[in-house]
């Protein structure tokens, strides 16, 4: 999927693009490439889905979201697809996945990340999800994050 030039571009930008008005041209210059070629390659990777977007990654805590929780739910298998999509559509849910249960330790198959400014706010949002799931949910739990230990995203190796 990535040819060596794509890889050079992504490796050079994965920790951060130049913070200038023309970041792609400046990246191109640093790599000895034509700005037009870098733009074309980045666009192609975006169209292919390899790049989701070129964006700022915010630190939720620093933006005032102090109560960040992974909410987990044990939802009937026959209902989890339909209900998961409803939960995923809630505006305060940033990620929502179905994952395998690992019995007996881990009975939960639906994961929804919820962000709030306070635990009171996050708990209210959790109750909203609980109401939506209704009797299809047998049991649930909430895991508040207390610290970001690492947040780099996928790391590409210099040579693939």
């Amino acid at each position: 999927m990535l040819d060596p030039v794509d890889r050079r571009i992504l490796v050079a930008s994965q920790d951060g693009l130049p913070l200038t008005a023309t970041p792609f041209a400046d990246l191109a210059r640093a790599l000895g490439l034509e700005p037009r070629e870098v733009l074309a390659r980045l666009r192609r990777l975006k169209e292919a889905g390899a790049i989701r977007r070129i964006a700022a990654v915010p630190n939720h805590y620093r933006l005032g979201f102090l109560a960040n929780a992974m909410t987990v739910w044990d939802v009937e298998d026959g209902e989890v697809g339909r209900l998961g999509r409803l939960v995923g559509a809630l505006p305060f849910v940033t990620h929502c996945y179905r994952r395998p249960r690992r019995l007996p330790d881990w009975p939960y198959n639906l994961f929804a990340m919820v962000h709030g400014r306070s635990r009171t706010e996050t708990e209210a949002r959790r109750r909203e999800i609980a109401a939506l799931l209704g009797s299809a949910c047998r049991t649930s739990d909430v895991l508040y994050s207390t610290r970001i230990l690492k947040k780099t995203g996928l790391r590409l190796a210099g040579e693939g």
């Binding site: 999927m1 994965q14 920790d15 951060g16 693009l17 913070l19 008005a21 023309t22 792609f24 041209a25 700005p35 666009r43 889905g49 390899a50 790049i51 989701r52 977007r53 070129i54 964006a55 700022a56 990654v57 915010p58 630190n59 620093r62 933006l63 005032g64 979201f65 992974m70 697809g81 999509r85 939960v87 559509a89 305060f92 849910v93 940033t94 990620h95 929502c96 996945y97 179905r98 994952r99 395998p100 690992r102 330790d105 881990w106 198959n109 739990d141 895991l143 994050s145 207390t146 610290r147 970001i148 230990l149 690492k150 947040k151 780099t152 995203g153 996928l154 790391r155 190796a157 693939g160």
Partner: protein, 152 residues
């Protein structure tokens, strides 16, 4: 710097840039026009937001699976006295994309992202071997929403 120190223009910049910029020669031009400011001013504020840690980085967000790789969520129950040691070990591993401390018996939750899917099992085994702790591996089965922007 807490959120209280972000002015409305900073917030508008974070709000907009977390959704992404167009891949064009001057990606901040449109945002500058909307905010009735200059591209240089937007870039200067972005640099300050990165410097102060409000923004972790401004970069391409890659999709490991679309690149032919694989991702999984893992959890471990790390004893309190070993927590920092294990966190440092994961910090140093390039396959660990994110790691969070959480209030739970399973107190460390991390995402593994690799370019070659067959590496995942080996990385999980390596973590178990190096820590002596079992890893709960919870690969995604279905995705209902993925990191759309949070209103800030």
């Amino acid at each position: 710097m807490r959120s209280g120190h972000l002015d409305p223009i900073d917030r508008a910049i974070v709000q907009s840039l977390q959704r992404g910029v167009p891949i064009v020669e001057r990606p901040f031009a449109e945002l500058a026009t909307i905010l009735e400011t200059t591209e240089e001013a937007v870039v200067a504020r972005l640099a300050r937001l990165v410097e102060s840690g409000v923004v972790g980085r401004f970069a391409p967000m890659l999709d490991a699976e679309k690149l032919g790789g694989a991702v999984t969520l893992c959890a471990m129950a790390v004893p309190a006295e070993r927590f920092e040691e294990v966190a440092r070990l994961l910090e140093a591993m390039p396959e660990v994309a994110h790691n969070y401390a959480r209030e739970h018996r399973l107190d460390m939750w991390f995402v593994l992202a690799v370019e070659r899917p067959e590496r995942l099992a080996a990385v999980v085994a390596e973590i178990e071997a190096r820590t002596g702790l079992p890893v709960l591996n919870l690969p995604k089965l279905e995705e209902y929403r993925l990191e759309l922007a949070l209103p800030v």
